[in-house]
């Protein structure tokens, strides 16, 4: 089971500068664990208290995983997982 994971600029320090990496897993959580086993430090930037961090968006193909099960969202062979930092802020 191989999926392609697109890594945003700010996290490429954890992937030796690579824009995308291959990974395996049946859920987003497994994919993240698989990457973590080779690129330590990434998981901490994505997951907090067993949930996706508020500051990050993760997509399976075109779908934001928040709407399809979060970390338990299913991933199948050939899917693209895209990680993007949320662009957000405010006056407070």
């Amino acid at each position: 089971m191989a999926v392609t994971v697109s890594i945003p600029t700010i996290l490429r320090t954890h992937t030796d500068g690579e824009k995308s990496v291959e990974a395996s897993g049946k859920t987003v959580a497994q994919v993240i664990d698989d990457i973590e086993s080779r690129h330590g430090g990434l998981k901490d930037r994505l997951v907090k208290d067993e949930k996706l961090h508020r500051f990050v968006n993760v997509y399976v193909n075109d779908e934001d995983v928040r709407f399809v099960g979060g970390l338990e969202a299913e991933v199948t062979d050939g899917d693209t997982v895209t990680i993007l930092p949320a662009v957000a802020g405010g006056m407070r």
Binding site: F55, N57, D64, A86, V87, M91
Partner: protein
């Protein structure tokens, strides 16, 4: 320093005025070749539709980053407005900021007649304000803006060699 075209400045301020009192947000993309040149203006919808918070819609965000990747572009400028406070990054702005190579532009629309227009680097939680150099002359339709006189190159040139305010001239 941020070098930015007058028509882009005008578009950002007009967007901020239009969405006031809600915060407005968007991007100016440019070539991902280190040239640091904002070229393609892309206003974004504030999915939060709030006077105190902004967030790019997650679907729009994915579309934007795919487009930029396809065009070999990077977000050179990421802008948003504060509608009741100064044009300075808030704690929330800093905690979300995750493009270390972007110029974070803040516009304040708290005054009706003039908008503050300031630019920052935000890297690993550290905020550094930078000068803004506007390329091109203001037109008749250009909104009134105010740069931060403490960091703009013209002002610092004008006030050069006059001594610091807290040190009396000899």
């Amino acid at each position: 320093m941020l070098r930015i075209r007058r028509d882009h400045v005008d578009a950002i301020v007009a967007h901020a005025r239009r969405d006031h009192p809600d915060e407005a947000c968007g991007v100016i993309a440019g070539p991902d070749d280190g040239s640091d040149t904002p070229e393609r203006y892309i206003p974004m919808v504030n999915a939060a539709r709030s006077p105190t918070f902004y967030e790019f819609d997650s679907g729009d965000l994915l579309k934007l980053y795919r487009e930029m990747a396809a065009n070999d572009e990077t977000p050179v400028v990421i802008y948003h407005s504060h509608t009741a406070t100064e044009a300075y990054p808030s704690r929330t702005d800093i905690s979300f900021a995750s493009e270390p190579f972007a110029h974070y532009v803040l516009v304040s629309t708290r005054e009706d007649d003039v908008a503050d227009f300031r630019s920052y680097r935000i890297v690993e939680g550290e905020v550094t304000e930078e000068p803004v150099q506007i390329v091109g002359e203001a037109g008749a339709e250009s909104p009134s803006i105010r740069l931060n006189p403490d960091v703009t190159p013209v002002e610092s040139y004008m006030f050069a060699n006059t001594g610091s305010d807290d040190v009396p001239d000899a």
